[in-house]
């Protein structure tokens, strides 16, 4: 069934796009919360990174669960 190695089957393009957007997001967020403010809310950036981490875990989860088990449900 797995006739090609994982590296070839994995959607690297999608991953790359996501990674690029995520990085841009963090940079802009850092700028938005620090610029000009007396009390920079840098904590927000850290939290955002943590959210990315949590999102990554869920991403892997949704990536691994076979689609067939969602498509067979009520409705």
């Amino acid at each position: 069934m797995f006739d090609r190695p994982f590296v070839q089957r994995f959607d690297w393009c999608l991953f790359g796009l996501m990674f690029l957007l995520g990085c841009m997001g963090l940079v802009v967020l850092y700028s938005a919360v620090t610029a000009g403010s007396d009390a920079p809310r840098k904590l927000l950036v850290v939290r955002q990174v943590l959210w990315y981490g949590a999102g990554g875990v869920l991403l892997v989860f949704f990536f691994c669960v076979s689609t067939s088990c969602w498509s067979n449900g009520p409705m």
Partner: protein
């Protein structure tokens, strides 16, 4: 399993009123607070995809076949409108409409629904809250609220426009630094980006989003089973609409509705939902090789 998940989310949406404290959209869970309306989007996508994958045909959906999707969308939609969070509610509705139109609706029914939505517009108008009406009116005529939303749009346009071609450099945008922009780390973050990175940066970002959407549709294209295709379309529609509404809003093309920009805006629920969506897309993308 997904059904249970979505029901759980809906229950969360129901109870959040108790936990929300000052704000009405969040559900406090210890240190973090989540926004269940974000997760509902994905749940709706999966529910609709599952159903449409079974009933879709070349002639399009009939009126009876549309009933169940209607319920699936209407319940969370009303709950979110109640919060009230017009932006998210609009996104849920647009995702559902996009998916439904994608699997095709009977021509006659399509005309009927189009007619109903045109005539139903005024009806919805009466159900909107005062400040939501104000926002739409402001969009149609910014002179109506030059001190609130109208002023925000102007400041956002100044921020974006003043970025010119190359931008002012990161952390050097005066509009950003002087707090002229409202909610500069969430809904208006694109204005910060455009001010500091200029047309080059903002266009590049738009281009990345375009690539993402195109790639999502490509994944749908490559999938061999209807469910995978439709779910990919739904996920892609979600990303597309959020990008479109957010950017159109901050550039003054649309009303000021609070819709976060995927990946960029601050917000845990939004980030996690988008990541889950990408996970789904990767999953579908991967599976096209399984049969070969």
């Amino acid at each position: 399993m997904i059904y249970g998940f979505s029901v759980f989310l809906l229950v969360c949406v129901l109870v959040f009123g108790k936990y929300a404290g000052g704000s009405r959209r969040w559900l406090g869970l210890g240190v973090v607070s989540i926004q269940p309306s974000e997760f509902v989007k994905l749940a709706v996508i999966v529910m609709l995809a599952r159903y449409y994958a079974r009933v879709a045909n070349v002639n399009g959906l009939t009126f009876y076949e549309l009933f169940r999707p209607f319920v699936v969308v209407a319940v969370p939609f009303m709950l979110i409108v109640r919060q009230p969070d017009l932006g998210t509610a609009m996104v849920v509705l647009l995702i559902a409409v996009s998916m439904t139109l994608f699997v095709k609706v009977e021509k006659r029914l399509f005309v009927c629904l189009g007619f109903i939505s045109v005539t139903g517009g005024p009806l919805v108008w009466f159900c909107l809250k005062g400040y939501q009406k104000q926002r739409i009116l402001t969009f149609l005529n910014p002179d109506l609220d030059p001190l609130g939303a109208g002023y925000h749009i102007i400041q956002s346009k100044i921020a974006i426009g003043s970025g010119m071609f190359l931008g002012r450099g990161l952390g050097r945008g005066p509009q950003n630094a002087l707090s002229f922009l409202p909610e500069q780390h969430t809904d208006f973050i694109f204005s910060v980006l455009a001010e500091e990175l200029g047309f080059a940066g903002s266009f590049f970002m738009i281009f990345l989003f375009l690539m993402l959407v195109v790639w999502g549709l490509n994944v749908a294209h490559g999938c061999r089973e209807p469910f995978g295709t439709i779910v990919s379309v739904g996920v892609t529609a979600m990303i597309f609409w959020q990008v479109f509404i957010n950017v159109a809003m901050v550039t003054g093309l649309m009303p000021v509705v609070g819709v976060p920009l995927p990946f960029i805006s601050y917000g845990g629920s939004s980030v996690i939902t988008v990541m889950m969506c990408v996970g789904v897309l990767m999953n579908v993308s991967m599976r096209r090789f399984l049969m070969e």
